[in-house]
């Protein structure tokens, strides 16, 4: 029985730390009655999602098909890829031209080619992003938490001085900001577990230092006065209460975070110039650098996005080919460098990196091959202008996901897609619930983990039915 006892204790400690963080509110979520899932041993302590916002075409990136160079008069139906395929360090994995650096680290990770995005009718970025990040399709009667909020809630911070859920690079006041806000949140878990938003990574330091314009000494003095007033406050006469304790505790935590050595990780100016330059392909690249620095000091969940703004980034509705050149430049260096840097620091084994997008794109097929979608991008049968050369329609039947580190197989290829249009998934289909189950399991969370909300169970994977894809683990 000893072995059991020890195992129980370890798990108890984990549960207890999460439980003590639980938001207290009568209408808040409760530990579900009669839970009997078993949390698996964690393979990773930190998870980094690299989000390719806007729909990244698989045939232009990680799943190259027959290459057809541009020429006037080209038939749209001939074009599957607008880039040639390139070799990688792994024999059976070819990538699309422009991803040479990621190709050089493919022996550190797994490439899934058979991710099928949700079938949500019209293929819409915001709904599919919501679906990817929460595992549920909106609208819902309760606010579903972001996967990062679940991690924050269940696992707590890795280092108490670093916010457990950090979101880098997405502005919420642009484009479909409201639709993005709908899932950039902790939902019913309570805002304690919500994202710490850093839209501009090179300004990250501002979020953990005194407000702009306030000197450090003034900041300390102000804090000191607050503390002195707090300690002598006659409100003590009302005795202790939960509300007061929660206020004081939150201020303590914020103060600790602002004064912690870990806060230096937010400061990209401390990075040597040559390293900074390697990452500096813009906000996404610097976001990867910030993610690396935060991982080093003990972050739990980080998302770095190329940012979703309608018709920008990967959301190519025209000029798909030329814009894809730029997008690959944006991601190729930083993603590969992140993998290498974490490896060099001995952190890759306990860090799970996931590169994904809400869906893929195709030149002709939008959604199901047999269903015409209203309002899809116009694509001429014969391409007379270069702006029509690229993947401009939304495609859900296949998509690529990259996984590195955290107990994931190295140099592994999963799934097969068709070599002719529609380039859909043929083997090894993975849906969001099973992808999430794979990620949660790697992080030491059962896919059946649930909380009771309004007396109903709510699971981390839809209805608790997600199952980890075991063959992806090393």
């Amino acid at each position: 029985m000893n072995r059991h006892t020890e195992w129980n204790r370890r798990d108890f400690l984990k549960t207890a730390s999460a439980a003590t963080l639980a938001a207290l509110a009568s209408n808040g979520p409760k530990e579900a009655f009669g839970n009997s899932y078993e949390n698996p041993p964690a393979l990773a302590d930190t998870m980094i999602v690299l989000w390719m916002g806007g729909g990244m075409a698989h045939t232009e990136t990680f799943d190259p098909k027959r290459y057809t160079p541009y020429e006037k008069g080209l038939g749209s139906d001939q074009v599957l890829s607008t880039f040639p395929a390139i070799d990688t360090v792994v024999d059976n994995i070819k990538l699309s031209e422009g991803l040479e650096k990621i190709g050089s680290v493919m022996d550190r990770g797994t490439l899934i080619r058979s991710y099928k995005a949700g079938d949500l009718g019209f293929i819409l970025h915001s709904r599919h992003q919501y679906h990817w990040h929460t595992g549920y399709a909106p609208p819902l009667t309760v606010a579903a938490p972001h996967i990062g909020a679940w991690m924050a809630k269940i696992l707590g911070p890795n280092n108490p001085d670093v916010p457990a859920f950090i979101d880098i690079g997405q502005r919420l006041d642009v484009g479909e900001g409201e639709e993005l806000k709908a899932f950039h949140q902790a939902g019913f878990l309570g805002s304690e577990y919500g994202p710490f938003m850093i839209p501009y990574p090179d300004e990250a330091m501002q979020s953990v230092q005194p407000p702009e314009g306030m000197s450090a000494s003034r900041f300390q003095n102000r804090e000191k006065l607050y503390r002195k007033l707090m300690e002598t406050s006659p409100i003590g006469e009302f005795g202790s209460n939960y509300h007061k304790e929660s206020l004081v505790r939150s201020m303590d935590k914020a103060h600790r975070l602002l004064n912690s050595p870990a806060s230096k990780a937010f400061d990209l100016s401390l990075e040597p110039k040559e390293v900074y330059d390697k990452y500096n392909t813009g906000r996404f690249g610097l976001g990867c650098l910030l993610a690396r620095r935060l991982t080093e000091v003990g972050a739990r969940f980080i998302e770095v996005t190329t940012e979703y703004v309608p018709f920008e980034g990967f959301d190519t509705h025209e000029n798909g080919h030329s814009r894809m050149v730029g997008m690959k430049e944006m991601i190729d260096g930083p993603v590969s460098q992140l993998v290498l840097d974490l490896e060099e620091r001995g952190l890759l084994d306990r860090t799970l990196i996931v590169l994904a997008s809400e869906f893929s794109r195709d030149m002709l097929v939008e959604g199901k091959p047999d269903l015409i979608v209203k309002g899809q991008v116009t694509q001429p049968d014969v391409i007379e202008e270069e702006k029509f050369y690229g993947m401009h329609r939304h495609f859900t039947d296949a998509g690529s996901v990259l996984l590195f580190g955290g107990g994931i197989k190295k140099g592994h290829l999963h799934g097969v897609t068709a070599d002719e249009r529609p380039c859909k998934t043929l083997e090894g289909e993975i849906r969001i619930e099973n992808l999430h189950a794979t990620l949660y399991t790697a992080m030491g969370i059962s896919p059946k983990y649930k909380l009771d909300v309004e007396q109903r169970p709510f699971y981390v994977t839809k209805d608790g039915k997600g199952e980890a894809v075991k063959e992806l683990y090393a």
């Binding site: 207290l24 509110a25 209408n27 409201e178 009302f238």
Partner: protein
């Protein structure tokens, strides 16, 4: 932890199970031990049976011939014989089944097994003779009564109060052996009353006048005055309603016309203190400006059939006005209430131009539900009428005086808003037991008898001793055990907190997010209150919710992200920086005067000598904007500032 431990047990028992032959199950089997205490059927057993067994063995279901709606059916047993040996759990088949030692005959048959502790409780229950109080039927969930109830109000014994709430509370206190406490002092009362009615702190001159007033009736007079400030009242309570009715200036759906604001209608309804029955009638059977509530939020693409606009309308009407959860019963017959899929579709169909096909868990069934309101005894909706007439009929039924639940649901929300904890918690689950049925029922009946006058009920509560008792603390858990001793401490809403700082500095920055035109110019300053602004990181961090879902109660607890926003966020920093300048020019004649103003406005009291010393030291010899800004920040961070004691 319980589950972890249980798994250890299970591992052990599985080993044992492999060694033992099936025949040896009863005598030798090592089931989890029976609990070593007297069990309570309602607390220990009923929830377990409802959660794990009732789905297949009650409500008309009899898997294996076994039913357990009532005790007698449990005793009859299943097709294969007795399931329970009363008084002998070791030899009861039920113990074997729920222990799960044999995976081929275990209960529940799939999914999660009961925990060791739960098995132990069931065993103790069997051993103790299967106690089962009369009237409990697992085939039915407890439902609160529908009709209003006249409550006989006792005469006051020791207290001096004509207020029926107090006289009922006195009985409650007697029953719970609680001495009726003294009321809080005037300044605390004033701070509560101002924030709860108009959402603002009492300005120093008004507070001083109130404190100096020595008329015995001054508290009632203050309540009267505050309730008569129609605009300020509306600007405070609109936040409560925006949260409840999902009304906001931005949010999902607006991008392509899938949502409609009701701000104008809502503001003017509150300003006019529209009777609640009329108010709800206009939401359900829309008038110009109130259509948005029934319209719901429409996302493009295919949505789950439980989330069509008509289903949203049914769920929202159920939750907001009746304290009924139809969310479960929108996919399947509810496991937590008596509501069925048919009930939900019957209500939703009122709002559908075409007949709604019932979908079970998003799969079409081919069935259609007859159009009806949840409680047919209140009246019928004629399915042959066009939609707008059906909406009218429904609105009539819902707001009918015989619908006591409609009134109870609302007065409970008011009570919760004013006293920090509802008579029933959570406020959306009105089948739960109130901690005082008499107070709830009296308030509801009184509300109906006073023509659904919201300010009347507010007045009754605000002028009661109950409202004026010293505050208490409650951790929000195990609401079943709640005992009222006084109002539970509340936290200022995001809007109240920001408005307080704006009022203290008389600096009201920000562009309204709504086109609503109101006259909020005071002495040359446009006082744009926080509810009018779009959600921003500051108010979001302070608890302003995303209104894509109904928010009936905001979390009263602080978060780290919120503290960070307060400590280094630019919104508050800018507000205080700009406000400090104005503060000095208005109130900076002397340092002492400034300190008095800040404490009296912010905390509703004078600074203690110690506090005065600290603050004067911070301000230094010369009053500077920076130092004043920092003093104000320090004050605003205090629990005494942010909480409503």
């Amino acid at each position: 932890m319980r589950n972890r431990k249980y798994f250890a047990w299970m591992g052990f028992f599985l080993l044992v199970g492999m060694i033992l032959t099936p025949q040896t199950r009863a005598e030798e089997a090592h089931y989890p031990p029976a609990a070593n205490r007297t069990v309570s059927f309602q607390k220990d057993i009923e929830p377990v049976l409802r959660q794990n067994c009732a789905k297949c063995h009650a409500r008309g279901k009899a898997e294996g011939g076994f039913r357990m709606d009532v005790r007698d059916l449990v005793l009859i047993g299943s097709n294969t014989g007795r399931v329970v040996q009363t008084g002998d759990s070791q030899n009861s088949y039920l113990t074997h089944l729920i222990s799960g030692l044999d995976s081929s005959v275990r209960m529940p048959p799939s999914g999660e097994l009961l925990s060791e502790e739960q098995v132990g409780l069931i065993r103790a229950w069997i051993d103790q003779g299967l106690p089962w109080p009369d009237g409990i039927n697992l085939g039915r969930f407890k439902e609160a009564e529908l009709e209003p109830r006249e409550v006989i109000v006792p005469t006051a014994k020791a207290i001096h109060s004509d207020n029926p709430v107090d006289r009922l509370l006195e009985s409650y206190f007697q029953k719970n052996e609680i001495e009726f406490p003294e009321r809080v002092d005037d300044r605390l009362f004033a701070r509560r009353a101002y924030l709860d009615t108009i959402g603002l702190l009492p300005p120093p001159d008004q507070l001083e006048a109130f404190l100096e007033d020595d008329s015995p009736d001054k508290r009632n007079a203050l309540v009267e005055d505050l309730l008569s400030r129609n605009q300020e009242y509306a600007e405070n309570w609109i936040t409560f309603w925006n949260d409840l009715l999902r009304n906001d200036f931005t949010g999902t759906g607006y991008i392509d016309g899938g949502r409609k604001q009701i701000t104008d209608w809502l503001y003017h309804s509150l300003e006019a203190n529209k009777p609640y029955n009329q108010f709800v009638h206009e939401l359900v059977d829309p008038v110009t400006g109130s259509e948005g509530f029934i319209k719901g939020i429409v996302w493009r693409g295919v949505t789950n059939s439980s989330q069509t606009p008509a289903m949203q309308a049914a769920q929202n009407i159920g939750q907001v006005f009746m304290g009924i959860n139809l969310k479960c019963a929108s996919c399947h017959d509810s496991f937590i209430s008596n509501w069925t899929l048919k009930d939900s579709y019957g209500l939703a169909s009122v709002f559908s131009d075409d007949p709604l096909e019932i979908h079970r868990c998003d799969n079409p069934t081919g069935d259609h539900a007859p159009i009806k309101f949840l409680y047919e005894e209140l009246g019928t909706v004629d399915p042959n009428l066009p939609r707008d007439r059906r909406e009218e009929q429904l609105a009539n039924i819902l707001t009918d005086e015989q619908n006591g639940r409609f009134a109870r649901t609302f007065v409970n929300r008011l009570w919760a808003r004013l006293l920090g904890h509802g008579l029933i918690e959570p406020n959306d689950e009105m089948d739960r037991d109130p901690w005082s049925k008499d107070i709830l029922d009296w308030l509801a009946t009184d509300f109906i008898e006073n023509d659904f006058d919201v300010k009347h009920t507010l007045r009754v509560i605000l002028t009661s001793k109950a409202y004026q008792l010293p505050s208490s603390s409650w951790n929000g858990q195990n609401d079943k055990n709640f005992v009222f001793t006084g109002p539970v401490v509340k936290r200022m809403t995001a809007e109240q907190f920001r408005d307080s700082l704006c009022a203290i500095t008389n600096h009201w920055p920000g562009e309204p997010g709504t086109d609503l035109k109101i006259d909020n110019m005071v002495d040359g300053v446009t006082q744009t209150r926080s509810w009018m602004l779009k959600r921003d990181p500051f108010t979001v961090a302070m608890g302003r919710p995303n209104r894509d879902q109904i928010n009936s109660q905001r979390s009263p607890y602080a978060t780290t992200l919120q503290a960070l926003e307060l400590t280094n966020g630019s919104t508050l920093y800018d507000l205080l920086e700009q406000g400090a300048g104005r503060l000095i020019s208005d109130h900076g004649q002397s340092k002492e005067e400034l300190v008095h103003y800040l404490f009296f406005y912010g905390l509703g009291r004078e600074a203690t000598e110690a506090e005065k010393g600290m603050v004067l030291e911070m301000i230094g010899d010369e009053i500077s904007a920076e130092n004043v800004e920092d003093v104000l920040w320090s004050l605003a961070m205090l629990p005494e500032f942010q909480l409503i004691y």
